[in-house]
Amino acid sequence: MPSNRPNNPARSKVTRMNADQNPDLNPRLSALASLIVLLLICPTISAQSPRNTEAEFDRFVKLADEARLAERFDDAISLYGQALKVKPKWAEGWWYIGAIFYQRDIYPQARDAFQNLVALEPERGPAWAMLGLCQFQTAEYEQSAIALQRARTLGVGDSSELAGVVRYHIALLYVRFEYFESAYDVLMEFVRLGHETPKVIEAFGLTMLRMPLLPKDIPSDQKEKILLAGRAGYNMAARHLDQARTAFDTLLSQYPNDANVHYAFGVYMLPQDADVAMKEFKRELEISPNHFPAMTQMAFEYLKRDQFNDALPLAEKAVQLAPKLYAARNVLGRVLLELGQVDRSIKELEEGVKLAPSSPEMHFALARAYTRAGRKEEAARERETFKKLQDEYNQKRQLDKSGSPPEQKP
C-alpha cells in the first residue's frame, strides 16, 4: 500500500473471506470473463506461443491449444499442465491455465498460475492485474492491492476494460484499508472518463462516508445513504457543484447525526466557503470526537489564518490519534514552524516525509523548515525533490488526460 496518503493505524487486520461470500462482485467481473474467453479462443494468441523444438512439448501445446479452442477447458488445463511439466518456464502456458481457471471462477488455482507467471515475467502488467483480481476473489486483500498497484504501475496493455476493472478493484481496496483519499483519487479517473455507473457511485459513497467496507458487506439499511453520498461525491469530483450541493443537502437533512456526513460536506465546502466548512468540521467532531481527518482539516485552515494556537492542539491530537497520517504530521510541523519551534517542526516534517516520501508538499514544508534552521544544503535537497515529484506528477496527469484510451464502463 502506498504510504503517501492518510491511513488509520487502528485498522483491523485483513479478514479472510471466501470467494463465494462475494456475490456482488461476480457480476462485476462477468465482462472481464467474457474478455478472457475471447482471449482464450482467439487464434492469434496461440501464435504468440514460443516455438519449441522438443517434440513432446510441442505435442502437448498443440493438443492444449486445440482443446482450448474447442472450449474443452478441463482437457486444456490438463494438457497445458503437462506441457509445463516439460517446460516450467513457459510463460504463456501459465497465462492460459490462469485465464481458464479464472474464467471458471476457480480463483485459488488461477492465482497460483498467475503467481508463477509473474515470477517468470515480473514486468508483465496484465499478469499482475489478473493475479490481483484473483487475490481479491480469494480475499487476500493486501496481496491483491500490491499486485493491482504493480499492474497499474506497469500498465495493463491495450485492454481498457481490464484497466477499468483493475481501477475499480484498487479503489475498493483503498476503501477497505481506509486510504480514502487514495480511493477518491482513483475514482476521479472514472469521473474524467465520464463513467457514472452505479458501482462507481457506490464506491464514491463508501469513500465519502469513510466506510471501510467492500460493496458485498454494505448493510442494507446503509445503502441509500451510501448512494446519496456517492452522488454527492461523484458530482463534487466532476465539478457539478450544484448537483453535488443538492445531494449533500438531502444527505444532511436525512442523516444529520450520522458519522462523516458533516465531514464530507465540509470537504465539499472548503474550497468555496471555508467558514461554512469549519462549522461542518466542528459539528463532525461533536458527533465523532476522535475524527482526526476533521481535526487535520481544521488545523490546516487555522494555519492558513495564522491562528496557530488554535491549530496546534488539533494538529497534535490528530498526530496522537493517527501517527501514521502524514497530513497530520505535515500540519503539525508547519504550525510548530510558525510558532518558532523549529527543531520540533523538523522532527514532525521528517516523520511526514518518511511516511509519504512521494508527497511533494511534505518535501516543500521540510525545505522551509530546514531553511529556517539554516540547514541550507538539506533545504536545497528537499526543494529539488519537491520539484522532481511535481514534474513527475504533472507528467502523469498529462498522460492520464491525453494518453488514456477510451474505456468501457466498469
Binding site: A274, D306, Q341, R368, T371, R372, Y393
Partner: protein, 381 residues
C-alpha cells in the same frame, strides 16, 4: 507556551555566553527571522480580526520617499477607487457584443455602470470595485443581492476595449444572468480583496469592506503601524515594533510572503493546469529556475523594490544578474563569481526571462523561470 518561553530563555542565556553565536545571528537575517515569535510575524493575507490600521498618511510623515514613490507603484494601484478611476475616466464608454448580448460600461460623473442587454431585457449594476491598475487591464466586481460577481468582460489596455475576463468561459452565455458574470464564492471574494486592497479582510475570510483602502498599502506588508508610531514618539527602537519582510530569508520572502498573493511553487498542482496563464505567478515560475535558492540575491526584492513603480529597463536588471554572474571579460571589476553568459553581457532578461504573451490577457508577461530559452521552445508550464 511554557516550552516557548523556555526556548527563548535558552536563547537569551546562549547569547550572553557565546559572542560568536550572536555574530552569526546578526549576520544572517534568516536566523533573526528564525527567532521571530508568532506575534511579530505578519502575512498580508492573514490579518487578525482586531487589527487597526493607521493608514498610509501616518507612515508617510516619516517615510516620505517611500510614501511618494509607492503611490505610483503597481501595488498601490492593484485596485482603483471608482470615483478616481483613471481607466474608467479615460474610457467613458466601452462596449462589446457577445452573441445576443451587448455589454456597456458607462461613466457618469464619478460613477460607472456595467450593463448587459439581450435586446429585450437589460440588467445594470453600479461598478463597486475595479481590480487592477490598468497596465494590463481591469476587471470589475459587481454586487447583487449581497453577493459578488466578477464581470464577464474586462477592460484591456492594449486594445482599449472590452474582452472576456481571463479564465471566463468564452462562449455565448446561456442567460442574461449568466451574461453578467460569475458568482464569486466566499473564499474567492476574500482572496480577491485581501490581495488587491488593504484592511478589507480579517481572520482569513471575514470581509470588512467599510475599512477597505484601495491597493496594497504600507500596512498590508508591514502590519499595523500604530505601535511603531508610538514607539518612535517615545524614543524606543522603531525596528522592533514593525514587521520588516525585507529581513526574511530569500525563500521565505519569495515563496511565503510575496507568494501569499503572487502564488507559490507549492501551488504547482493547480498552477500547472493553467498552462501559459501561470506565467503571471512569479514565485512559482522563479522556483523552477536552476539558480533558485534561499539566497536573497534571487528573491523578489533582489530585483524589485515594492515601494516603487516596476522598472522596465533591461539594463536595470542586468545589474541584478551581475550580483552573481561574471562578465565575459574576466578582468572587469564588476560581476560575481558565477558563470558568464557566452552570448552577451547585457539585456540578460531578453533571452533568459523572455516575455510571454497570454492571448486572452492581451499582454506580455515576463517569465520569471530563468533559463536558456531555445527558439520555438514549448512553454514549460
Amino acid at each position: 507556551m511554557k516550552k516557548l518561553v523556555k526556548q527563548y530563555s535558552l536563547v537569551a542565556v546562549a547569547s550572553v555566553l557565546g559572542l560568536a553565536a550572536i555574530a552569526v545571528v546578526i549576520c544572517d537575517p534568516s536566523k533573526v527571522n528564525g527567532q521571530m515569535t508568532a506575534v511579530q510575524r505578519w502575512n498580508p493575507r492573514r490579518v487578525p480580526a482586531d487589527t487597526v490600521f493607521v493608514g498610509d498618511q501616518a507612515c508617510g510623515e516619516c517615510h516620505k520617499k517611500q510614501f511618494a514613490s509607492h503611490e505610483q507603484s503597481g501595488m498601490t494601484m492593484a485596485m482603483e477607487p471608482i470615483a478616481g478611476s483613471v481607466v474608467l475616466n479615460d474610457n467613458p464608454k466601452l462596449s462589446m457584443r457577445v452573441g445576443p448580448y451587448t455589454y456597456e460600461i458607462k461613466r457618469n460623473g464619478k460613477h460607472s455602470s456595467y450593463s448587459v442587454t439581450d435586446g429585450k431585457d437589460t440588467v445594470s449594476y453600479p461598478i463597486v470595485y475595479a481590480f487592477g491598475q490598468g497596465k494590463m487591464g481591469q476587471t470589475y466586481v459587481l454586487e447583487r443581492d449581497g453577493k459578488f460577481y466578477e464581470s464577464l468582460v474586462s477592460f484591456y489596455r492594449e486594445s482599449k476595449s472590452l474582452d472576456f475576463t481571463i479564465g471566463a468561459p468564452r462562449g455565448v452565455p446561456a442567460s442574461l444572468t449568466d451574461a453578467v458574470g460569475r458568482l464569486l464564492t466566499a473564499n474567492e471574494v476574500a482572496s480577491c480583496f485581501s490581495c488587491h486592497a488593504t484592511g478589507a479582510v480579517v481572520s482569513g475570510t471575514q470581509l470588512r469592506l467599510d475599512k477597505l483602502t484601495h491597493g496594497v498599502r504600507c500596512e498590508a506588508c508591514h502590519g499595523p503601524g500604530g505601535k511603531h508610531i508610538t514607539a518612535v514618539k517615545e524614543g524606543e527602537s522603531p525596528a522592533k515594533s514593525i514587521y520588516n519582510p525585507g529581513l526574511l530569508g530569500g525563500d521565505e520572502l519569495t515563496q511565503q510572503f510575496c507568494a501569499s498573493c503572487h502564488r507559490s511553487a507549492e501551488e504547482s498542482r493547480t498552477l500547472q493546469d493553467l498552462h501559459i496563464n501561470n506565467v503571471r505567478f512569479q514565485p512559482y515560475r522563479i522556483f523552477q529556475s536552476k539558480c533558485y535558492s534561499d539566497d536573497r540575491n534571487i528573491s523578489c526584492i533582489a530585483c524589485h523594490n515594492p515601494h516603487e513603480p516596476l522598472r522596465e529597463d533591461p539594463a536595470y536588471y542586468d545589474k541584478r544578474c551581475l550580483e552573481c554572474h561574471s562578465l565575459r571579460d574576466k578582468t572587469a571589476k564588476v560581476g560575481g563569481d558565477g558563470k558568464s553568459c557566452p552570448v552577451a553581457d547585457k539585456n540578460c532578461t531578453s533571452c533568459h526571462m523572455p516575455k510571454v504573451e497570454i492571448p486572452s490577457a492581451h499582454f506580455k508577461f515576463t517569465d520569471h523561470y530563468i533559463r536558456v530559452v531555445r527558439p520555438g521552445e514549448k512553454y514549460p508550464s
